[in-house]
Symmetry: C2
């Protein structure tokens, strides 16, 4: 029987349990994956705590991103996949129903995607959440162009790093922020043109000076909270602020007067907008494949854990020490 991660109550990392469950069979429109690697996401912390967009039905599975080998295909209507195919999963399904943390995972066939041969399974588990999230905001909705500037907050996360790579691939200016100086060198090496250390530097002053007083056209931020007021100050006339997360525990004040004066847009965004529209999904996949092939996009892995240490891996993710993706090896 495969080991599957579930939780029977919402709460801290140690609610996660590794359980032996019967091997399930894929239903119509589904494929089963023998999991090799699992990419961790903050969404799973929020889901585990009962604070996510989706509410868990207990006991609940969890997890959006796995890479592995297809070992069963549902009846009739699954096309494009065969047993033995090497795939990873695109977060586009209810996490409670299909959660991929475990030795075996079943997902809807539309959520499975082949990934380039040159990538390891560990890298394969670190593609879709980060690149599709950043792609949707920056390219599909943000229309990023060569002369644009992008402010990327919480930039050491996998999505932040993906945003740096996508910004640079578009030929635009990537300004990354991080709270402490310890991640600065890493972010520069990861491709950021400039890094603002917000614990030590004035975000608005430096952001304005790095953009010749114009401000940035696009902000890509998972923090929200009172910080949004500063982000509005450093945004250019006609600029757009993407809020793709809710890391701040404090209420988010809408920056009304800067928004009126500068015609600012603040847009809530998640990758689900992209992955649920077949045409946008197809364009996004094509963009990501081309970037992975050319090397413009390259997943940055922070650290791996064995599946038995899933609780420890979640604790580490919460610590905020990582630089890039945390992957669990199965």
């Amino acid at each position: 029987m495969p080991k599957i991660v579930r939780f029977h109550q919402t709460g801290g990392s140690d609610v996660l349990k590794l359980e032996d469950l019967p091997l399930a069979e894929p239903g119509k429109g589904e494929v089963r994956i023998k999991v090799e690697a699992i990419g961790l996401n903050r969404a799973e912390i929020m889901f585990r705590k009962g604070q996510y967009l989706e509410t868990p039905q207990l006991p609940s599975r969890l997890g959006y991103e796995a890479a592995g080998i297809i070992d069963a295909v549902g009846p009739d209507d699954v096309t494009g996949f065969r047993i033995g195919d090497r795939v990873s999963t695109i977060p586009s399904f209810p996490m409670g129903q299909y959660g991929v943390y475990g030795e075996s995972a079943i997902v809807p066939a539309y959520a499975a995607a082949h990934y380039p041969d040159k990538l390891s399974a560990i890298e394969g588990a670190a593609i879709w959440m980060q690149y599709m999230t950043a792609y949707g905001a920056l390219i599909e909705y943000g229309g990023l162009k060569k002369d644009d500037s992008v402010l990327i907050t919480a930039a050491s996360s996998s999505v932040g790093l993906a945003a740096i790579q996508i910004t640079k691939a578009a030929g635009a200016l990537a300004i990354a922020t991080t709270r402490g100086a310890d991640k600065k060198a890493f972010l520069l090496e990861a491709g950021a043109d400039h890094v603002i250390v917000t614990d030590e530097e004035d975000l608005v002053e430096r952001g304005m000076s790095l953009t010749a007083g114009k401000g940035v056209r696009v902000v890509f931020d998972p923090v929200a909270g009172p910080f949004l007021e500063k982000l509005a100050e450093v945004t250019a006339v006609g600029g757009i602020i993407f809020e793709y997360g809710a890391l701040s525990p404090n209420p988010t004040i809408f920056p009304l007067f800067p928004a009126l004066a500068k015609g600012l847009t603040v847009r809530g965004y998640t990758l689900f907008e992209i992955v649920k529209k077949p045409e946008s999904l197809a364009k996004g996949k094509d963009y990501v494949y081309r970037g992975l092939e050319s090397g413009a996009l390259k997943p940055i892995i922070d650290r791996t854990f064995p599946l038995a240490d899933i609780v420890e891996a979640h604790r580490y993710m919460k610590s905020n020490r990582q630089k890039g993706k945390i992957v669990v090896i199965v």
Copy 2:
């Protein structure tokens, strides 16, 4: 000497003084208007109180909208206007420098526009702020289409009524809100498909039921403040909320979770975005002219005051009893 309205200190309505000032001559790129009618706007209350986007240099003029006859044209570079032309003014200039409250006003030539013969000067003073504001949000940026639904708050204001007319001209559903029941019949007569009386009815419940559970695609709101959370609840997936004013004295909370779950956009907006871009301005003027000619757009005048009663007119505007535009006759 023409009588000009100025204020020497910021404050309540009675800081407005009618003063005899020397007749000024238009400079390069300017025209002078013998004013016949002045359209009042809330922006002028905020400016008078020192709470507007622009800060007054005391003593200061004020006023954005006047209709009258050109009686002088600046040297050299003014084209398209002659003495005797009947024009009204498009708010697209610093109010303190060019304010039009008075018997004579000088404005940049780009801010003067002919208006249809069939409109009176009173109606001519009630065109540009209301129609250009609503046009920019709903048509230029909102891309309003036939099957869309629009929620128009504070709908009895001149801009609110303009939004109702533009929504109907686009063939979309116009849902108006008003606080008390006393303006309901008026709003239905003004073209709203439905009116929600927010003091008596649940905005979210009624808005959802009027849109078959989908919510409205566009919200057009000058209030902001805590009310924005309700607006987000009644907005459809992928919808957009235009904030074009700051009537609420309370902080505006950004509705983060609905915005993430539904991919909502909250956009600060003023007509200055339109009128400062020559191409957008030309398109907007063309739209408004065609609407005025066809009768799809027709300014609704609430009440007129003589210029001597400018203080009283401002008090009345603040009272919020009006249904449509307040115009001062010179």
